[in-house]
Amino acid sequence: MLTETQAWDVLHAVPDPEIPVISVTELGIVREVHARDGGLHIVVTPTYSGCPATEVIAQSIRDALVAAGAGEVDVETRLAPAWTTAWITEPAKEKLRAYGIAPPSGDAAVGGAQPIRFVPRKLACPRCGSTDTTRLSQFGSTACKALYRCQSCLEPFEYFKPI
């Protein structure tokens, strides 16, 4: 059996399958951990509705805790409150940057009539730090990221969009 504190320690080491430099706890998707008779109850809030990693994440959480001797582990998916990039921890944002992904900053998309007036904020390139960057696409390799290019070092990079 694991205590709740021990369970959190195990979860701090479970990587996000898409962005393995940060853990599922740093991503802010593990909301609650409850010890109970014979095991653990874990509450997870998914990032995007269609994120293909959601099931892999639940499975890796279960596997890691079971391997650490947690007994029976059940993972509950909770929708409300909806996940937001504001739940990504500050150290994790630095890890994202070091990994080559610009971390979320500023406000989420507002939609509606504004899109055509919308000028994306000048993002700093995670590689060279230049703010002379341009957005290539609102959607990158996954729904949670946009694709940018740095005009200074000419490297493409991804931006974790705020939602």
């Binding site: 998914p46 995007y48 509705s49 269609g50 994120c51 293909p52 929708l79 409300a80 409150p81 909806a82 996940w83 937001t84 989420a108 998309a109 507002v110 939609g111 509606g112 009539a113 504004q114 899109p115 055509i116 919308f118 290539l136 696409s137 609102q138 959607f139 990158g140 390799s141 996954t142 729904a143 694709l147 969009k161 939602i163």
Partner: protein, 252 residues
Amino acid sequence: MTTTPAHIEYVTRLGDNALILGQRMSEWCGHAPVLEEDMALANMSLDLIGQARMLLTHAGKLEGKGRDEDQLAFLRTEMHYRNLTLCELPNVDFGRTMVRNFLFASLQVLLWERLLASSDTELAAIAAKSLKEARYHAQHAGDWVVRLGDGTAESHERAQAALDYLWPYTAEFFAANPTDEAIAAAGIGPAWSELEAAWEAVVVPVLNEATLTVPARTPFKSYGKFGRHSEHLGHLLSEMQYLQRTYPGAQW
């Protein structure tokens, strides 16, 4: 809260909209004009299919007959689908795809905003999640509508043709039957009459910016959300449901 047939019908409509447009948009995978848009369309499809999973799961629970998301998606025929006709129309070209996404995502943003206050708390939770995604879809499509409409002669012509073709189907967004009246009365969802002006206030300025002419309303009516579909839905379902129809109950 006791579940009414109108409630099940309403949540099914929302789920079917997301599922059918998600499936339609996924046809672009590997075929979009540029790689970045290929990825964007695939990602937006995934968002919509994810929303459909939550909504159809919820509809199945409300129904209480043990049908899950997969049974609702793969084992209903077109007459049991309740999506807006607009969602099932063929993609044709990138212009029509972007104009459709813009018209639909703009509606979704307004609808999800109102459903945050739904008396159905599960639906409100799905709305909170979907709203964040719909805003990015609306922004993406809005950008493209302006680029295409106010672009070259060719792109303008195609965007205008797309708008002329799709616009009559948007009347269906705001059509109401007793289901819609029951939903508004129960505080589950907004009255469509209230949404129509709000939608036009969002959509028309962008179409103007895109130098596109907003077509006049005509008597044309479509009735997909009431279960009367165009010829296109059956073809879409025959592809989407092929595996479950050929190997019933197959799992992997």
